[in-house]
Point group: C2
Chain length 342, copies 2
DNA sequence: TTGTAGGCGTTATCAG
DNA sequence: CTGATAACGCCTACAA
């Protein structure tokens, strides 16, 4: 037999199916079932290897124990790591993870990306600002949606993220403290988190009384190829920067490669800093100065917010809730004082 | 109302619920439903935004349209990429992807890793040889299970993978052709795919009449730290290798970093080759010589095998089926003729 | 052409 | 303490 049902157990035990349900569901306390019956049913259930059928339960209104996660893609190792953390945390809470990818930008409908009906809650990783249709679908959903690393710009649902300003600010204080004045910024386009990082970059320079030459802020795809483009443009500038701040480690490491490919010495001729502290950041040569965040904690908070029972009926609109974690500057070998002869 | 049911539509249209079912399910041909009724029902369904309830369908025996995927972890960027491909392919076939992670090795039960009952089929990525309990569970499952990149060693279910021998052989012919004789091998432990790669390495050297000094085959964790360990050991050998073949690009790139950190010039003083062609392989400095495989095709084949209707009832045991794709050597800057003065 | 009825595996509400 | 019974949303004979 495929998978035994309660009815099978009931037949074998000579009781009614509803009794089986009571025994198997009724916790452990003596709740209106004879000890003798209870034992017999339990034994048979074990022997037959009974496992409740999730669909039948869900049909009755029980939670499906499915957590949806929508991510743009895994091209950024940071999100691969993040998904892994989500997977672990979901399992810890008894949920299975349903993965949807929102690559190809554009106006994909949510249904194309993820069969939502089955999920109790949904976590959105990264900025999906370029998929308005998807966000719209998400918004009219009755399930709980939590945004992760989506910047502050996303209205409509609670979000968990990192203090982008503080992180970027730490990087810039570090670089300015080293004596840099010609500091460029490279980031992906349009992403919420990145916007905040860029704003912090500009403010930090302002505060230090440093002007930002034209061409010093470059937007590219968050890919290796994007970084190469940006590097080429920056290096063609009349006044080359002495330091580059990248909005992601993927870009930062790729910039490092671009520099190496041109025979530059890092940090001798150019300082580079990133954001995320992906595993490769520490392994790069030289090690990448970057901003680390408590990924596991951030993910745990988001998943908790999504599936947690806590505030679910406390009433009150949680849609505007926003949890922000503090990041930490990690200084490695890719940043140093600028060369004197520039 | 949360989500309209067929009954809601039926009420609104003044017909029976079964009629609604017929209209909505009965394809588009005129199959025993009056055109007039059909239009009316369709209109109301659209207006109410009807979407079928997957659980109810699944309860009746319909496929759940859920594809399970079990992966050890995302620490290897190659598998992150692979999962992305699986996600795309699953969606293409109308399936949602349920992700399970099998990290922490050991004897995890499948139920801990993935709620299987809900899945129509399961794809296992990479070698899970160190999770015997999980494989055992998988084996007694009634759902179709397909192994991906699991080497040839896995008995019990069909598998899709790459010709590891051919790939490794190409690497070794390349290196030997360049004049290398002191070629070391670094790979993760115990993994099926890797075992084949190692065997091919040994055979290729044998064939060329080259002896493998003790210490030239090193097993480490498939991580950045593992590579550093291996490099340190290899570099402490009395006879240092002039080339290192890594079983994965993650290891290869990390070895490259380890070498750089020691001030070695690549490929001047040491050639390094990998396997997988992850995105960073092309971007590394120098670019990594490696083995590329048609990931999208491999994944499509596996997903097709898992959910495809094709041979599902053709009878015949597909458990031993094995699909193998041919990989391709990609020569980049990390390999060259060995230095003369070694 | 359409409506009625039964059942998929559970849970919950009744009676007994 | 336990056994019928009615949903949950959908599909499919079978009947009208």
């Amino acid at each position: 037999m495929a998978s035994p049902t309660m009815q099978d157990i009931a037949d074998a035990a000579g009781v009614a199916q509803s009794t089986v349900s009571r025994v198997l569901n009724g916790g452990s306390g003596p709740i209106g079932v004879a000890e003798e019956t209870r034992r017999r049913v339990r034994a048979i259930a074990d022997e037959l290897g009974y496992r409740p059928h999730p669909f039948a339960r869900a049909l009755r209104g029980a939670p499906s124990m499915l957590l949806g996660a929508v991510v743009r893609s895994f091209s950024d190792p940071f999100f691969a790591e993040a998904i892994h953390a989500v997977s672990i945390e979901a399992k810890r809470q008894g949920y299975s993870l349903v993965l949807g990818h929102a690559a190809h930008g554009s106006a994909h409908e949510l249904s194309v990306v993820l069969e939502v009906r089955q999920c109790d809650a949904i976590v959105v990783l990264g900025d999906l600002g370029d998929a308005p249709q998807l966000l719209e679908d998400l918004r009219r959903l009755q399930v709980r949606v939590v945004a992760l690393w989506h910047g502050a710009s996303l209205e409509g649902f609670p979000s968990v993220g990192v203090d982008n300003r503080a992180g970027t600010d730490a990087v810039l204080r570090h670089l300015i403290g080293l004596g840099h004045e010609r500091i460029a910024f490279v980031g992906p386009e349009l992403l919420g988190d990145v916007r905040e990082r860029q704003a912090a970059y500009e403010e930090a320079l302002n505060r230090a009384g440093i002007a930002v030459p034209s061409g010093y802020v470059d937007h590219v795809a968050n890919t290796i190829a994007g970084a190469e483009q940006a590097f080429a443009r920056l290096w063609a500038l009349p006044q080359r920067p002495t330091a580059i701040v990248a909005a992601t480690d993927l870009l930062a490491i790729s910039l490092l490669h671009s520099a190496h490919r041109r025979g530059l010495s890092i940090p001798g001729q150019l300082s580079i800093a990133g954001f995320d502290d992906i595993p490769f950041a520490a392994a790069a040569v030289p090690g990448l100065t970057t901003v680390r965040m408590p990924v596991a904690e951030i993910v745990a908070a988001a998943v908790g917010l999504a599936v947690g029972s806590e505030a679910s009926e406390v009433g009150g609109d949680r849609r505007s809730e926003r949890v922000v974690f503090e990041p930490q500057l990690v200084v490695r070998g890719s940043t140093a004082a600028p060369a004197l002869n520039v």
